[in-house]
């Protein structure tokens, strides 16, 4: 495909972007199918009779009739391959099965929890971005002391485990100073500590990546020419290099969101917040398999969607990527 006129070129670029989007969606569907399949067969490795588990475990001494009834109700008397296709069929209609422990549809159960967790993750992602950008811009290109300090802060932040950071924050701000509640209260104040707990380690990771690309961008000719035009050092950083520095971090946002959802398991448990993470932990402890499978699929869905979106966003933010695809 050789670009002739500018319109031709634009059309071919648009075509390439559409093709790319098609590929991404196909890839996303494949990943979701594979996650569902992998989870389904992994769950079959669990020793013990699922019918027993549904009726409250081996200690419950369920009668043979009750066991048979449950096997019929849940389709457990069918051959494995039939169960597998039945599961895929139900997934396509958004049916995630029924919780063993709560006897409620998993889709309803998780639907009620998803909003809170996504809000928590989104706030944490935003705060992490602000902290990371601030740190990277402040500490880059200012000599050895600032960059060593910046690097130290990044490594330390990235090394903080959620469960420990949460405990220390509670000890200082709730027990010591009494400023913020130690458990989530549903108010804004109750959100502060969980969001900070999730954001700080992530900011450490993001800042490391941003700083590398910021250093790279600052050696580009356009920075020199902006400086020669008389812009201040900070002005150049704010106006010209942030976009470059953000690109690798944008493409990491899918990863970051997945990481935050996994971190929500710990944070929601510590701050006693309702949400996907805490539901997942309870389900793991109770071996409530439909709920575990449901959360895993939901997180995979969010992760996959985010990956597609960030890939397209990077293409929109960086014209070079579009042109590469066009040739």
């Amino acid at each position: 495909m050789t670009p002739g006129s500018p319109t031709d070129e634009r059309r071919s670029i648009r075509g390439a972007t559409l093709r790319r989007a098609g590929l991404l969606v196909a890839g996303a569907v494949f990943v979701l199918w594979a996650v569902a399949t992998l989870t389904f067969f992994a769950i079959r490795l669990i020793p013990g009779d699922p019918a027993q588990a549904i009726l409250g475990g081996p200690g419950s001494q369920a009668s043979q009739e009750a066991l048979d009834q449950v096997r019929r109700d849940y389709g457990l008397d069918q051959p494995l391959i039939a169960q597998y296709f039945a599961m895929l069929g139900r997934l396509l209609t958004g049916d995630l099965g029924v919780s063993y422990a709560l006897k409620l549809p998993v889709a309803d159960l998780l639907g009620a929890q998803l909003g809170g967790t996504l809000l928590l993750a989104a706030l944490a992602l935003m705060l992490a971005w602000i902290l990371a950008l601030g740190l990277a811009i402040w500490s880059t290109g200012r000599g050895r002391v600032a960059s060593a300090l910046g690097e130290g802060v990044e490594i330390t932040a990235a090394a903080l485990p959620h469960f420990w950071l949460a405990a220390v924050l509670i000890a200082v701000f709730s027990v010591g100073l009494g400023w913020l509640p130690p458990v989530a209260t549903g108010t804004l104040a109750g959100f502060v500590l969980p969001v900070v707990t999730l954001a700080v380690p992530l900011a450490g990771f993001l800042a490391q990546v941003m700083r590398e690309s910021l250093l790279d961008a600052m050696q580009q000719p356009f920075v020199v020419s902006a400086r020669a035009r008389g812009e201040s050092a900070l002005g150049v950083r704010a106006r010209h290099t942030i976009r470059h520095a953000s690109l690798p971090a944008i493409s990491l946002s899918g990863w970051a969101l997945g990481w935050l959802l996994s971190g929500a398991v710990v944070v929601e448990t510590i701050f006693a917040m309702p949400g996907l993470g805490r539901t997942l932990l309870q389900a793991v402890t109770l071996r409530d398999i439909p709920v575990v499978t449901g959360v895993v699929l939901l997180v995979a869905l969010v992760y996959v969607l985010m990956t597609v979106l960030t890939d397209l966003a990077a293409r929109i933010a960086d014209p070079r990527l579009r042109q590469e695809a066009g040739r």
Binding site: G27, F30, V31, L32, A34, V35, L38, T39, I43, L45, I46, R144, A148, G152, I155, T156, A158, A159, P161, H162, F163, W164, A167, V168, I170, A171, V175, F205, L206, Q208, V209, E212, S213, L215, D216, P248, L252, W255, A256, G258, W259, L261, S262, G263, V265, V266, T269, L280, L281, V284, T285, R287, I289, V292, V295, V296, V299, A300, Y303, V304
Partner: protein
């Protein structure tokens, strides 16, 4: 091993064309401190009785909940046990879990990486898809799935953390092996008629060894954090054990009155992670000829 460390590792290598600053022959002060901390951890692992000040399991109800002092550096817990000595006693378990999990993740990652880079196009395609799928189980999620299947406990937790780090390692190792595969010395060996097995064992793996060692160093800290998180959630080592995550979980109840039961075991985890990261970066710099 998280995907981000992967990004870091690649970012670091991408930045290698930047001019290296001359710093004389002295190693950085951070590297020295990190090395000293690792020596302390190794001493606590090999000979905890020499590093500890007291018997970690000696119960003294009269001394319960003492705040940090000269007699009890990190204070005492609800049974009057010395927290510093328990932290020292827990070093071996925590390090063992972290190192084993990293080894499992690396071994799997290496296997997948070799398969992808030397097994032909179909193998490469399949491994890449598999890694992509595994990335859709972010962080602890894969580990929790493993625990649902095999039940909680320290061994399952270790294997689970190892498994969840494997896809990240596989992706980086594949990238490095592909680069080595297309190098001239491998081409030369191929022209000389060496068998693929011999090329891999004599030429490729020795050259991949240092980068993989660096990866392992960077990954151990994260593995310890994840394993401790599982212990903290009650799915790994259980509280009577002096493992750091389990100690943190035990201290949770007394957070309002005895902060030292939580702060110090956590500081050990943070210190270990920082030390391994700093050492890993120093090794990376050495690998490309900087100080």
């Amino acid at each position: 091993m998280s995907d981000l460390e992967l990004q870091q590792a690649t970012a670091v290598s991408a930045a290698s064309h930047a001019p290296a600053r001359r710093r004389g022959r002295m190693p950085r002060i951070g590297t020295v401190l990190a090395a000293a901390f690792v020596v302390f951890l190794l001493a606590a692992t090999v000979a905890p009785e020499l590093v500890a000040t007291q018997d970690p399991n000696e119960i003294a109800p009269g001394d319960a909940f003492q705040s940090p002092s000269l007699a009890h550096w990190f204070g005492t817990d609800e049974s009057g046990r010395d927290v510093y000595s328990r932290v020292v006693a827990g070093t071996a378990t925590s390090l063992l879990i972290g190192v084993t999990a990293t080894a499992i993740g690396l071994a799997l990652g290496l296997g997948l990486g070799v398969l992808a880079s030397f097994g032909g196009r179909i193998a490469d395609f399949s491994v890449n898809r598999l890694v992509e799928v595994l990335f859709a189980f972010p962080g602890l999620l894969l580990a929790l799935l493993v625990i649902v299947v095999y039940g909680p406990g320290p061994v399952t937790a270790t294997v689970a953390v190892g498994l969840s780090t494997a896809p990240g390692y596989a992706r980086i190792i594949r990238g490095q092996l592909v680069a080595i595969r297309s190098s001239q010395y491998v081409e030369a060996a191929r022209v000389l008629g060496r068998s693929p097995a011999r090329i891999i064992s004599r030429h490729v793996l020795p050259n991949a060894l240092l980068p993989i060692f660096v990866l392992a160093t960077l990954g151990i800290g994260q593995a310890i954090v994840w394993a401790a998180a599982l212990s903290y959630l009650g799915l790994g080592a259980q509280p009577p054990a002096a493992e750091w995550g389990a100690m943190l979980a035990a201290g949770r109840t007394y957070l309002a009155t005895a902060w030292w039961m939580t702060v110090f075991p956590g500081l050990m985890i943070v210190g270990t992670t920082i030390a391994t990261t700093v050492l890993g970066r120093a090794l990376t710099r050495r690998g490309r000829g900087e100080r």
